[in-house]
Point group: C2
Chain length 242, copies 2
Amino acid sequence: MQPLYYCIAEDMIKRIKGGELKPGDMLPSESQLCTEYSTSKMTVRQGLGLLARAGYLRSVPGKGSFVEHPRYDMLAMHFDEMDIVGGYPQGVKLLQATIVDPKPQVQDMLGLTENDKVIVLKRLLYTEKQLAAYDIKYMPYIKGKPLIEKEIQYIPFAKMVAKHGELFSVKNEVTIYAAAADQGVAAMLETSPGSPLLVIEQKLLSAEQKPIGWGKTYCLSDCMQLHAVSAQFIQDKKLLNL
Amino acid sequence: MQPLYYCIAEDMIKRIKGGELKPGDMLPSESQLCTEYSTSKMTVRQGLGLLARAGYLRSVPGKGSFVEHPRYDMLAMHFDEMDIVGGYPQGVKLLQATIVDPKPQVQDMLGLTENDKVIVLKRLLYTEKQLAAYDIKYMPYIKGKPLIEKEIQYIPFAKMVAKHGELFSVKNEVTIYAAAADQGVAAMLETSPGSPLLVIEQKLLSAEQKPIGWGKTYCLSDCMQLHAVSAQFIQDKKLLNL
DNA sequence: TAGTGGTCTAGACCACCTG
DNA sequence: AGGTGGTCTAGACCACTAA
């Protein structure tokens, strides 16, 4: 037996998806629903809360609750560069993990000054023995903090940054694009210059919007796909079990 | 003055981000929090509900509420092929919008039989006069349904499908990869075969998991980037105003 | 002024888990 | 048996909006 607040939410979804309630329409007021379902306000609100969070309605104080069309242009995607590899530790080859003076581009990206140093991490990622991606990451080097652990090559970027610098990275900005392989990357990936690559650029920011990590993953085009699904679908499942 | 339940949520977040409560730790029980904040259970639960939905904690019936690390590998992304164009109707050139017998590949993708027909839509997308992408979409043709409206070339795919077929597409599966332009696409995009493209493949599914739309967008690599951000960041903003 | 949503109370009962 | 979270009640007061 499902709880009453959940039934109310389901009923409303049915009315919306069935076309009985159209976007812009006002739902029955909370007090109406209370009498309709012979229940109390908190229970009704718990039900409507589900729909509101899933994006099916918007409540306006003093006016009412109104139907909205859920959005299908918001996508949810999972990305962890370590997922490329087929099972841990086999799939990663650590090429470099050192402290260096950053190139101007990196210095700029991380908002550093002349004397700051960065940790650079270069890795090759494999899918079941097949070379799939060349990964390069930069983090500001913090004096006195322990640098490198045994497993550093296997942990995802956000966690890596967390271990060295800030405890939490609050924002992960990802840019995805296609590009032709240049001389250097092509050599790393054992392919020919000009071949198409999927490039995934990551920028981690602290709570104060300070850059605390930056890097790129160059993926061979035939080894790597990103999959996304409408965020609405995720929310429907999580919040409403539809 | 912010509501009490919101203060409770903020306090807990502080304890978590401050390291006082670590992942796996049990939060004070609801009754403890009731006395701590001199409030009633529903108010405490309203506060904890915020954190639970944002992924900071998980409640286990009979045991307690436990701290979880928020995930930074879940990304949120906005994608609407119409967003490529710089301002509506200028940026789209409709090449074709007809009813055809589908090729086997399309037939397969849409789960159709021999006699079914599909609507095919081919378009070029421009960013301020510059050619950016070649877009091709397929939808099952439903007899008797009105086919094409004046604005069909400008509305996003999900809405387009909604107008012709099912009222709601519930799931939008998107695949992103890089590829070299083949002869045909290269000609469309006025580029040379082999040049790198960002390919965005969309598959729309009905509530019954039936495919109701499929298509690809071939983007010139220097015109198109996708941007994503950690979903956690979105949720923190939406649910907690952090 | 009457209706709306937003917050909150002080209880209740239940199912679940642990000792 | 005692503690936990999950559901629910029957009210209350508030701020807001509209007529």
